[in-house]
C-alpha cells in the first residue's frame, strides 16, 4: 500500500466507524467531553498502529472496537487509581459548544443502550459485551468474535446463552411489575 493510499484508507475507516465508536463510549459515559476524549484516544491509537492492521485477520470495525474496549478499560483503571487523566495524558483539546451539543445528543440517544447494559449487568462480561457489540454496535457475530478475541463458535454459544439470560431478566422484571400492580 502506498503512503497516500494508506492515509486515504484510514480516513475511510475513520469515517465509516467514528459514529459507532463514539456511541460505544456514549453508552458508558454521560460527560460529552469524556466521550469525545475517549473517541479521540481510540483513533489516535488506531492511526499510530494502522500499519500493522491486517484486513485478512479481521474487519476494520472489529479492530476498532477492540481498541475502543482497551481504551475504555485503561480509562476505567486510571479512574480507579485516582481520577480521570485521559484529557491531560492525551493532551486533548476542549470541545467547543457545538461539538459538546452533538455529543450530548448522542449520549441522550444512547439512553436505551445504557438501560440494556444495566439489565445485562449480572451477565459475565464477555456475554454482555457480545450482546452489545452485535445488537447495539452493529457488528456481525464473526466481527464481535474478532473484537473480543474469542473463537467464532464460542461467540455463537455466548450470544445464545446471553440472549436466553436476557429474556429471563426481562421476564422477571415483567413478573415483578405485574406483582406490583396486583
Amino acid at each position: 500500500m502506498r503512503d497516500h493510499e494508506a492515509l486515504a484508507a484510514f480516513e475511510r475507516i475513520y469515517r465509516d466507524n467514528v459514529g459507532a465508536i463514539s456511541r460505544f463510549f456514549a453508552r458508558r459515559c454521560v460527560d460529552p467531553q469524556l466521550v469525545g476524549d475517549l473517541t479521540a484516544d481510540t483513533f489516535v491509537r488506531a492511526i499510530t498502529s494502522f500499519a500493522t492492521f491486517d484486513a485478512a485477520r479481521g474487519s476494520a470495525s472489529s479492530w476498532l472496537f477492540g481498541i475502543a474496549r482497551h481504551t475504555f478499560a485503561a480509562h476505567a483503571e486510571r479512574s480507579v487509581k485516582g481520577g480521570d487523566l485521559v484529557r491531560r495524558i492525551g493532551g486533548r483539546r476542549e470541545l467547543d459548544s457545538d461539538e459538546l451539543a452533538e455529543l450530548e445528543a448522542r449520549i441522550d440517544a444512547e439512553r436505551p443502550g445504557r438501560a440494556l447494559l444495566d439489565r445485562l449487568a449480572e451477565l459475565p462480561e464477555l456475554e454482555r459485551e457480545a450482546i452489545e457489540l452485535v445488537h447495539l454496535g452493529g457488528l456481525s457475530p464473526k466481527e464481535a468474535a474478532e473484537a473480543l478475541g474469542v473463537p467464532k463458535g464460542a461467540m455463537r454459544t455466548r450470544l445464545y446463552r446471553a440472549m436466553a439470560r436476557l429474556r429471563a431478566v426481562v421476564d422477571d422484571e415483567e413478573e415483578a411489575r405485574a406483582d406490583e400492580q396486583v
Binding site: M1, R2, D3, E5, A6, L7, F10, E11, Y14, R15, V18, G19, S22, G36, T39, A40, F43, V44, I47, T48, S49, F50, A51, T52, D54, A56, R57, R93, L95, D96, D98, E99, E102, L103
Partner: protein, 176 residues
C-alpha cells in the same frame, strides 16, 4: 459527518498522519528487505507459509489475481499445487512472470537484477501468500521468477527478478 467528527479527523490528520505514513513505509521496507535479499542472493523470500490442506466453511479459491487501482497486480496463492497456473494468469495481465521448480540443491544459474523497492511486495500469513507486482517497476529486460514447493506441512514461496536472457531453470530452497 458531524462537526465533532470533522474536527477530530482534522486533528488526527494534522497531528498523526506523519506517524502513519512513517510506520507504513517502515513496514513496507521490512517486507521489501526480504524481497531484495532474495533477489540479490537468490531466492527464498523469507517467510514460509503454512497452507492448510482442508478448509472449513466456504472453500476459498486456490489462487486469485486482482488488478489494483494503482496498476499493480496482486496474486494470492493458497494452494501451491496451482502455482504454475496462477503465474500464467499474471502473464495474461502483461506481467513478465514465470514459475520454476523450487528444489533442494538446485544450482541457480540465472542473473538476478536489483529492482525498485516498490516493484514487488510480499505478504505472508498462515493461510496464504500475497505477491503484489507493479509492472512499471519491472525493467523491460527482466522477468519475475517465482517458485513454490509444499512440504509435509509447510509451503515455501520464493522468487526474484532476473535478466530475461539469463533465467534460472530452478530456484534453490534456502533458509526455511
Amino acid at each position: 459527518m458531524s462537526r465533532f467528527e470533522d474536527n477530530l479527523w482534522a486533528e488526527l490528520e494534522r497531528g498523526h498522519a506523519p506517524v502513519l505514513l512513517q510506520s507504513v513505509a517502515t513496514q513496507r521496507r521490512l517486507r521489501m528487505r526480504r524481497w531484495m535479499g532474495a533477489a540479490a542472493g537468490v531466492v527464498v523470500l523469507g517467510a514460509a507459509a503454512v497452507i492448510a490442506p482442508v478448509y472449513f466453511g466456504g472453500t476459498p479459491p486456490a489462487y486469485a489475481v486482482v488488478d489494483n487501482p494503482d496498476g499493480s497486480v496482486t496474486l494470492t496463492i493458497r494452494e501451491v499445487q496451482r502455482f504454475e497456473e496462477a503465474t500464467a494468469k499474471l502473464r495474461e495481465r502483461g506481467i513478465p512472470a514465470i514459475a520454476v521448480p523450487l528444489r533442494e540443491g538446485c544450482v541457480e544459474t540465472g542473473r538476478s537484477l536489483k529492482v525498485p523497492v516498490a516493484a514487488v511486495d510480499f505478504e505472508f500469513t498462515a493461510k496464504e501468500s500475497k505477491i503484489t507486482i507493479t509492472p512499471d517497476g519491472i525493467p523491460p529486460d527482466a522477468t519475475v521468477v517465482l517458485a513454490a514447493d509444499s512440504g509435509a506441512d509447510v509451503s515455501i514461496v520464493a522468487g526474484g527478478v532476473y535478466a530475461r536472457d539469463q533465467l534460472p531453470g530452478c530456484l534453490p530452497v534456502r533458509g526455511r
